[in-house]
């Protein structure tokens, strides 16, 4: 014998019956691992060889459960916690809607586990050159002969003794199969290294793209929902006769929670008082509403200096001037309700309480830009 490693010793049998008869004898005679090669599945062969049961079912079960839980977790997190969004009036956590995705992920995990687990983990693929493929009797086995193999399994076995044992138990002929030398590039290790390299390259490319998008936001790869045909606020449109894209409430529309405002031009609205207490939430709300509705014209500081002046040649009122500061809340409320000069009425945009909150904030701005001396000294102390 040369110094090549012996992979297995094959006993070739003429029929499935003789193979089955031989198995118990060989099994008791040789302490090595047995394997059989047959041209078609033979009933009872698994049990006779004493092959262990496949763990694939358990693996699939475990991974299916993990897949199911992963889907539930993903859906719970994305649509319940991180980005809760009402869809079709259903609760954020609607298990009914989650079931199909849970099912899909269960199947996905189970299928991948079954496929990849069987190929990679259990069958140890990729296995580029199986020694059996080089066996001389392989053409016979794929046609009408049955082979019983006593495998070395990495250890040294007594070839002579096993050949005799196989012949004694009815083998027509015996062949010794040797392990062929494996080239370094054809090894599973190399294969997996290539796979890992590809995976790393994918990750790097993905992250590079991500950061490129982040740093150069002008390059929009997918426009999709960013680009929708729509009318922006204040945008003109020829569809309506007044040429404005923005619609006003129908004449005479009143809010359900308020009663119509009856003070007209001749009457004096200055006597009205602000019914809201000057608390932090009220001022915060007023600030938000002022920034949303008023600051477009009056400026974020209320000083009437906005881009509007340059763009539309308008000079809105400076809310900080002394004669505006001297107005009562009631008079300013009246302006919000009825509008003044170029300013339209905001009675439809702001609710009763919101108007008063805005007025509180206007007072804040007046105070901020015309502060008392002690305000400044206390501020500088801080």
């Amino acid at each position: 014998m040369n110094n090549r490693e012996v992979f297995s010793v094959l006993g070739i049998f003429d029929s499935a019956q003789s193979l089955m008869r031989a198995i118990p004898e060989v099994k008791s005679g040789a302490a090595a691992k047995l394997e059989a090669y047959t041209p078609y599945p033979v009933h009872g062969l698994d049990e006779a060889l004493g092959l262990r049961k496949s763990p694939i079912a358990g693996m699939v079960l475990v991974m299916a459960v993990i897949g199911s839980i992963a889907a539930l977790g993903l859906e719970f997190w994305t649509s319940g916690v991180d980005y809760p969004q009402v869809t079709a009036g259903k609760p954020y956590f609607s298990w009914e809607a989650f079931v199909p995705i849970m099912f899909e992920l269960t199947v996905l995990f189970a299928a991948f586990t079954a496929g990849l687990g069987m190929l990679l983990l259990l069958n140890r693929l990729p296995f580029f050159r199986h020694p059996m493929l080089a066996a001389r009797s392989m053409p016979l086995i794929t046609r009408d002969k049955f082979a019983l193999a006593v495998e070395a399994g990495g250890k040294t076995i007594d070839v002579e003794e096993i050949s005799a044992l196989l012949r004694d138990s009815g083998a027509a002929s015996v062949e010794v199969v040797e392990s062929p030398p494996v080239h370094g590039l054809a090894s599973p290790r190399f294969f997996f290294r290539v796979l890992i390299a590809i995976a790393i390259a994918c990750c790097v490319a993905g992250y590079a793209t991500y950061w490129a998008m982040k740093l150069f936001p002008k390059a929009i790869p997918m426009v999709h929902m960013l680009d929708q045909p729509r009318l922006g606020p204040q945008q003109g449109n020829t569809f309506f006769t007044d040429g404005s894209g923005m619609r006003m409430p129908v004449e005479g529309t009143v809010s359900r929670i308020s009663i119509p405002y009856t003070v007209d031009e001749q009457e004096d609205p200055s006597a009205m008082g602000n019914p809201l207490p000057r608390t932090a939430p009220v001022l915060g709300r007023g600030r938000q509403l002022f920034n949303d509705y008023c600051s477009v014209c009056h400026g974020i500081l209320g000083n009437g200096e906005t881009t509007l002046t340059a763009a539309y040649e308008a000079k809105p009122t400076n809310l900080l001037s002394k004669n505006i500061a001297a107005l009562t809340d009631g008079s300013m409320y009246h302006v919000i309700m009825k509008g003044k000069n170029s300013m339209p009425s905001y009675s439809a945009d702001l609710s009763q309480d919101e108007r008063w909150a805005v007025l509180h904030y206007v007072r804040v701005l007046q105070r901020a830009l015309d502060a008392k001396d002690e305000d400044v000294s206390s501020a500088q102390k801080e």
Binding site: S54, V62, P277, L283, I300, K315, N323, A371, D373
Partner: protein, 304 residues
């Protein structure tokens, strides 16, 4: 039992694979939970800083958060340098007119600016008649400083005396009045006012601080108390018309004008029902009942 399926070495291998997969899932989940929201908010500063000088509308990141600043004292000047026209004043006047006046009065002062659709119409400086204060220097200065009540002409008191005078000259130039001075007494008064010391610019504090100040200065008024055993007509009418005792008290504390009489009271609270804590039943009250209500409120609400 498990040995039937896998030997211990394989079991170890399978379990390590499982651990690796579950680990990958957990890492992916953590990535999604921690890292991605972090990236999403990458542009926000970690801590809100009060003052961060970046270019913005008023030179700050948040235009309402400027540093507190004491008003600058403008040193008094010789009034004659302002009364007498100069190239410098003309430049300032033209610029200020452009930003403050042109939208209403028009670039040539004909009262035909883009925003001239106000009532009453903006003044045409070239028209001789109909001036409220007159086209003379002291009169235009008065108009600029005080505005014209009842019209859209606002007060430009936030401009300095020098700026106002520059505008006066420009307006007179547009109207073709030369430097018409008007009466000598008026000119004297104007010169005296211009020479008066103590002109300052406004103190400034950040808006958030002003919010805190105003909030801190606010005193919650006592709610309108109506004792249950008070059977007087006043208490009775209060019970009928007041829906929110604390709001009603707040309204009546916020503006004192109602104290003038039942009419003033009606003007004060009727337009804003029901948001101000009074019932819509107010609309049906008879004059005598208004009087009763007024008396009852006057008794209960102390002046500030």
């Amino acid at each position: 039992m498990i040995e039937k399926y896998v030997d211990s070495k394989e079991l170890k291998q399978l379990l390590s694979t499982l651990v690796a997969i579950v680990g990958c899932l957990i890492i992916a989940a953590l990535f999604g939970i921690i890292v991605v929201p972090g990236l999403r908010n990458a542009n926000k500063p970690a801590k809100p800083t009060a003052v961060a000088p970046v270019v913005g509308e008023s030179g700050w990141l948040d235009p309402t958060e400027f540093p507190a600043q004491k008003g600058r004292v403008i040193p008094p000047v010789d009034p004659m340098t302002l009364i007498k026209p100069s190239d410098e004043l003309a430049d300032i006047g033209e610029k200020l007119y452009e930003t403050n006046c042109r939208t209403c009065h028009g670039s040539l002062g004909r009262g035909d600016g883009p925003a001239s659709n106000v009532d009453p119409q903006p003044r045409d400086f070239t028209a001789a008649e109909g001036w409220t204060n007159g086209p003379d220097m002291p009169n235009v200065y008065k108009t600029l400083s005080e505005g014209i009540p009842g019209t859209s002409m606002a007060s430009y008191d936030y401009l300095t005396k020098r700026e106002r005078m520059a505008l006066v000259h420009y307006v007179q130039f547009l109207g073709g009045y030369g430097d018409s001075a008007g009466s000598a007494e008026a000119m004297q008064a104007l010169a005296g006012e211009l020479a008066a010391p103590g002109e300052t610019t406004n103190n400034k504090i950040p808006v958030s601080m002003a919010m805190e100040k105003l909030e801190g200065e606010f005193v919650f008024p006592l709610p309108l108390m109506i004792p249950i055993d008070d059977r007087s007509p006043g208490a009775d009418i209060l019970r009928r018309t007041v829906t929110d005792a604390s709001r009603a008290a707040q309204v009546l504390h916020a503006s004192e004008i109602w104290r003038a009489g039942p009419d003033a009271l009606a003007r004060s609270i009727l337009p804003d029902i029901p948001s101000n804590g009074f019932s819509t039943k107010l609309a049906t009250l008879k004059p005598s009942e208004w009087q009763t209500l007024y008396d009852a409120l006057l008794r209960r609400i102390r002046p500030n």
